[in-house]
Amino acid sequence: MLANKKLILAHFWLAFAVFGVALTLGAWQMFIRSPIGTWLSNPELYYRSLTAHGTVMGYVFPTLVAMAFGYAISESALEQRLVGVRWAWAGFWLIVAGSIMAVIPIALGRASVLYTFYPPLIGNVFYYLGVVLVVVGSWIWVALMSINLRVWRKAHPGAPVPLAMFANVAGSYLWAWTAVGAALELLLQIIPVAAGLKATIDAGLARVFFSWTLHAIVYFWLMPTYIAYYTIVPRAIGGRVYSDTMARISFILFLVVAMPIGMHHTFADPQVGAGFKFIHSAFTALVALPTLLTVFTICASVEIAARLRGGRGLFGWIRALPWDNPMMLALAFSFVMLGFGGAGGLINMSYQLDASIHNTQWITGHFHLIFGGAIVIMYFAIAYDLWPHLTGRELIDLRLIRTQLWLWFVGMIVTTFPWHWVGILGMPRRMAYFDFSDPAIAPQALSVTLSAVGGFMLLTSGVLFLVILARGMRAPQADAGPYRFALAVHQPATVPVALNTYALWVGLMIALTLTNYGYPILTLALNEGTSVPAVYVGAQ
């Protein structure tokens, strides 16, 4: 039962429209930095574009997708109309306003600070206020998800919360808490300086606050993808979820350990003690656990589908899978990219190995492979799966959809593998220009050119994606029926209270935040004389 189709479609369209713009900027950046482009002489333009690309891809696009998908899940999994539709629209318009407010200073070159802010660089205050509005808009969604679940629980006392909604609300709580780090950084540190009330800033403390957000935000981006793995894919390929309990435990583990691990982003920072770096490193290793659980459960679920279709043998069942089904294809691509990206992530989280790839193109390759690859390809899949239910029209051209997914997959591999490689060779990231005529880096020219070609494959795929969705709005009408999620092999009749509620896990998440972040933040905040003069972007 999808009652508020317009609301969900508005979120999706805004998400994909800004995605298209940011994708174009990304491809341009790769071109201009590669040996095939001519250097544009002004690095500022590059950083302007990079800031816009990061801000849209990091804050606006995934947040809108999570919100759209969240509303859809709330209505269809709980089978109740969304409570607080007006608030939902308010959240949407806040994000629109925030995005516009943030993009104008970026376009004017007044906020080329990159989406990670990098104090003591300080941009125009409206850029930060815009980002704050986007986050506030998304917090409305968090509240609505919680309220809708509460309403449902009242009507269904003691009943197991449907898996999709359980995971969705876990994701929203994770986001609510993880956004607090960047919010503190913005409200207490950056915005007062950007508004001219202060002229100095504690950059070290700001980096610690941002690391609070920076890692778990990736898991917030990941949530829709994992929800799709568990609750869409098995249904779409005619299988069942292997274990509902395993799924719940995975999401719970994400909730508890995705956040208090962010300091592995500050391994090279002198202001953080080595002991805390070690704790965060160890907890980062733990976060691989829910992913491994998920890979196992989903492979088992897919095997169920294959055997139901007559697949036989130890591995022979793989051939029996519906490979022409876009959902199957997307899942396989996503897993391959998750595998490579995850392996790279294990290198990033280990203190010693990180030293050799820290701040190199390896990192850029890593997060594009995980986010742009494994996660975003499932965003496409979610949109394809939901579209007929939202528009009441059929997506007819499966061939085009498969082409789009293939292009995205190959494009992402071609983009990110050379990035990893040149990163190992030592190429720094966040650079506007490389002089490939220099013999020291001339051998890297081929790899960088290749990755730029990959960038254009991604752009083509992105355009195709938008074309498919736009054509889907005009296709002949067809009733897609009610939107359903995958059933488990053993559909739960009752669920232990701990696996049906969040209090315990949110409590553990907050407790771990206190133990893992409390002391470093307190000492940095109380230390006198750690602030440095702000460097205002665009100031003469």
């Binding site: 250097w39 002489s41 002004n42 690095p43 500022e44 003691g158 002229a199 508890v256 202001q271 953080v272 003690g273 080595a274 002991g275 805390f276 770096k277 070690f278 704790i279 160890a282 907890f283 733990l286 650079m431 220009y433 490389f434 002089d435 220099d438 020291a440 880096i441 232990p496 209270v497 701990a498 696996l499 509620t501 209090a503 315990l504 896990w505 553990l508 407790a511 771990l512 133990t515 002391y519 470093p520 000492t523 230390n527 003069p533 205002y536 100031a539 003469q540």
Partner: protein, 271 residues
């Protein structure tokens, strides 16, 4: 079931969840704060508490050796993007009177015929900094130092405001405009040289960096060479010395010749 049933040791989810989390935390804390610090043979700790404090990142005053004495004077000028950004007519008037004594080298209109810098329309912050540095001895010059030594803070500010107020006139050594050399627009990234234009105009301007268009070729070359040899050292954090040291003699010539050939009205376009 209610929250009361959840938060009780009878609930095995509660005991396992909290227990495992606490156990991992304790084990990693012991590893990070006690085992690993002592695993570093090159660091000596007095006791366990010392190791824990070190691993927690507690700021410690370990420097028992005094910092080496600074023999040469460093620039003590602090500039912000708003330094002298608001000038008054009175200040400009006072500056004009004071500037009479500068005219012999820097020209009555602020345009030099003696290979001294042209000051007409130069950024106030730039003149302010250089005069302060000449006065303090952070920068020395046989001609300039005696002039600067007697100036008061007020006089320095007035002079800066006056010269910044003067219109930018064409220089006396017109040459055909040269194309931008690589060092000006690209720098030399592999040698850590940012493009000249990223601070001195053409691409961007940074506080405290003078615009260079139409300045004397010989003067700019001499300054770059003085930075390279360390003879001139009033640049903050050695920014110009690091750059000049890494530049080739040919690049120094190219940069100086390029900026000398540019008319100062180009500066207006990027201001």
């Amino acid at each position: 079931m209610s929250a009361r049933d959840l938060f009780t040791f009878r609930n095995r989810h509660f005991t396992t969840g909290v227990g495992v989390t606490a156990a991992i935390l304790i084990v990693t804390a012991i590893g990070g704060f006690i085992v690993l610090p002592f695993a570093q043979p090159w660091v000596q700790f007095a006791n366990v508490w010392d190791a824990i404090c070190s691993a927690a990142g507690l700021p410690q005053r370990t420097a028992t050796v005094a910092a080496p004495e600074q023999t040469r004077r460093l620039s003590g000028v602090v500039l912000t993007s708003s330094t002298l950004s608001r000038s008054s007519q009175e200040a400009i008037g006072r500056g004009a009177t004071l500037a009479q004594r500068c005219a012999i080298c820097h020209g009555p209109t602020g345009i030099s015929r003696a290979d001294s810098p042209n000051l007409a329309g130069q950024y106030a912050a730039v003149i302010y900094k250089e005069l302060h540095d000449f006065r303090s001895g952070a920068r020395t010059n046989a001609v300039m130092s005696p002039f600067a030594v007697g100036l008061t803070d007020q006089e320095i500010a007035d002079l800066s405001n006056y010269y910044a107020y003067l219109p930018r006139l064409p220089a006396y050594h017109p040459t055909p405009q040269l194309p931008k050399p690589n060092i000006v627009i690209y720098g030399a990234p592999m040698r850590g040289i940012a493009p000249c234009g990223s601070c001195h105009g053409s691409l961007d301007n940074k506080t405290g960096s003078p615009w260079l268009e139409g300045q004397s070729d010989a003067y700019m070359k001499a300054q770059l060479e003085a930075f390279a040899t360390g003879e001139r050292r009033n640049d903050i954090s050695q920014q110009m010395r690091n750059i000049a040291r890494a530049m080739t003699p040919q690049e120094i010539e190219q940069a100086a010749a390029y900026y000398a050939s540019q008319p100062p009205d180009v500066v207006k376009a990027v201001d």
